[in-house]
């Protein structure tokens, strides 16, 4: 079964260089762990919402706007697609993501085709 782990954090928080490096290392360890278990299907880290553009079409008109689709305290900073047995396994993996300690990780099943 495939799950998406959506990593949500407050992107306004700025880290010192040392903290940023430490955090980068934590995420690397997390990824290495997923790879070694053979559960990682995909992962991407997203750049901040200040670079986001929202697109919609209404009645044939294209609407392009600056920013994310919703203003929320936490924004999606990245995601993983993992393959595991069940929700408990997915929760277990999500709880090990470094962001779980300061943000949240949303676990969503992926449609199977």
């Amino acid at each position: 079964m495939r799950y998406a782990l959506l990593v949500c954090v407050d992107e306004r928080v700025e880290l010192s260089e040392a903290d940023a490096e430490r955090r980068f290392a934590e995420f690397s360890d997390f990824q290495d762990d997923l790879r070694s278990r053979g559960v990682l299907l995909a992962r991407e880290r997203l750049r901040p919402t200040s670079l986001a553009t929202t697109v919609s079409t209404r009645g044939g008109d294209l609407v392009v706007a600056d920013g994310p689709f919703a203003e929320t305290k936490e924004q999606i900073a990245g995601f993983y697609i993992i393959e595991c047995a069940d929700l408990d396994d997915a929760i277990d993996i999500a709880s090990r993501n470094p962001a779980a300690a300061y943000g949240t990780v949303e676990v969503r099943p992926v449609w199977e085709v």
Binding site: A85, D86, L87
Partner: protein, 418 residues
């Protein structure tokens, strides 16, 4: 006709004793919650038809399991080809069972069901409802009635929960050892919520809600049997039995609330108190204290006092102190303040209550002003007590509580009680 009545009674007994077993087993072998419920229902209906003629089987639960499993196979056989795979799975899993319908694994099934119903990925209301439906066998309208929501709302809640279990694949198993502690706490929360839902009710749907208390105790017993080494499971069972032992004395003949202090202790259920005490002793011997054991110990202090004045308030103060250390909450602190007032005088208690009031975390909780009012009354500070009673009246959640507070408020004008 005697045979018919006896067979019907046997089916009713089996329903109470075995519904959860049959459903739990069928969920494991079919992986389909709706099919499991429907086929369990079918099996009990079939028992009603067959048992009067064939006699009650030697193991009703094995008969019901087998009948329900065959029914599930039948249904899958007649369903579309797409279900062929599921049918194979059912046959495979069923053949792994001892063919004499042996009970091996059944208890584990119920434990699995309990943990899945009480999975933290489900909303708490759904956890409670699903537990009542699948383990206790209450119908959806009965559950809706008990929680005072329309049946359609309850049906939707149950459907949504089962949908999530299937589609997000919430596993059907007892959690791994390193998660067992937190997951067990979630199960205890659901059972205790169920109990309190029944215990807190004193008006309206009274009878059904009394049933909720019995169901909670039944589930508590089951959990204590399944996990005999978990002191908190024993603690919760003991706590519920102790509360429940006072149920008859808690409401007077006019349906009015009677405080612990004023209850007729002769109406307490002494057999239940004795059983609860034995269970608590067993739990405490494991030397792993927890919030339910401590609350049960407090309830036991009350239960063992022959009259209100003989209550060991020093011990209760200590127990609340420990409870506030391991499970800190403003409500526990309020209860601690009451115990201090009883042990060391109203003024000492009032000082603690005032601290809580200043902290503001119980701003909308009627028992805070009600407690203040009671302490002020004991200190003969009647005008202040009246203001506090008025505040409590504004916040009280049910009519029974409002009537109680109103009586106390009116008594302030009369001669002092203490």
């Amino acid at each position: 006709m005697g045979g018919l009545a006896a067979a019907q009674a046997a089916v009713a007994d089996a329903f109470r004793a075995d519904w959860g077993r049959v459903v739990a087993y069928l969920i494991r072998v079919t992986g389909n919650w709706d099919l499991a419920e429907e086929c369990a229902q079918d099996a009990f209906e079939r028992a009603l038809q067959r048992w009067p003629d064939d006699g009650v089987p030697s193991s009703p639960s094995a008969w019901l399991k087998t009948t329900a499993r065959n029914r599930a196979l039948d249904r899958l056989r007649r369903a579309s080809v797409g279900d062929a795979k599921q049918r194979e799975i059912v046959m495979l899993r069923a053949s792994e069972e001892a063919d004499d319908g042996g009970d091996s694994g059944i208890e584990d099934d119920q434990l699995r069901l309990m943990f899945t119903c009480c999975h933290p990925a489900l909303p708490i209301e759904a956890q409670v409802a699903l537990t009542l439906r699948t383990l206790a066998g209450l119908s959806t309208p009965e559950i809706a009635h008990a929680f005072l929501v329309p049946p359609e709302t309850m049906a939707k809640r149950l459907t949504r929960a089962k949908h999530k279990i299937t589609e997000a694949r919430i596993p059907y198993r007892v959690p791994a050892a390193h998660h067992l502690g937190e997951r067990l706490r979630a199960v205890l929360v659901v059972i205790y919520a169920l109990f309190n839902e029944g215990y807190g009710a004193s008006t309206g749907a009274h009878l059904i809600r009394t049933d909720l208390c019995s169901e909670a105790i039944r589930l508590g017993r089951l959990l204590a049997e399944l996990m005999p080494d978990e002191p908190e499971a024993l603690g919760l069972l003991s706590l519920m039995l102790l509360h429940n032992s006072r149920r008859a004395a808690r409401i007077d003949q006019h349906g009015e609330l009677v405080t612990l202090e004023d209850q007729n202790r002769g109406r307490w259920d002494s057999a239940a108190i004795a059983e609860a005490t034995r269970i608590l002793d067993r739990a405490v011997r494991r030397r792993q204290p927890g919030p339910y054991q401590l609350q049960a110990a407090i309830a036991a202090c009350h239960a063992h006092a022959p009259h209100a004045a003989a209550t060991d308030w020093d011990e209760i103060t200590i127990l609340y102190q420990r409870l506030s250390e391991i499970a800190p909450s403003p409500v526990v602190l309020l209860n601690h303040a009451v115990a201090v007032a009883m042990a060391r005088g109203a003024a000492a208690g009032l000082a603690l209550v005032d601290q809580l009031q200043e902290a503001g975390s119980l701003a909308d909780y009627y028992l805070l002003p009600a407690t203040r009012a009671d302490l002020l009354r004991r200190m003969a500070r009647n005008p202040e007590a009246a203001i506090a009673y008025q505040r409590a009246l504004d916040l009280a959640p049910t009519d029974t509580e409002r009537r109680f507070l109103l009586r106390r408020l009116q008594e302030l004008d009369g001669p002092a009680r203490d």
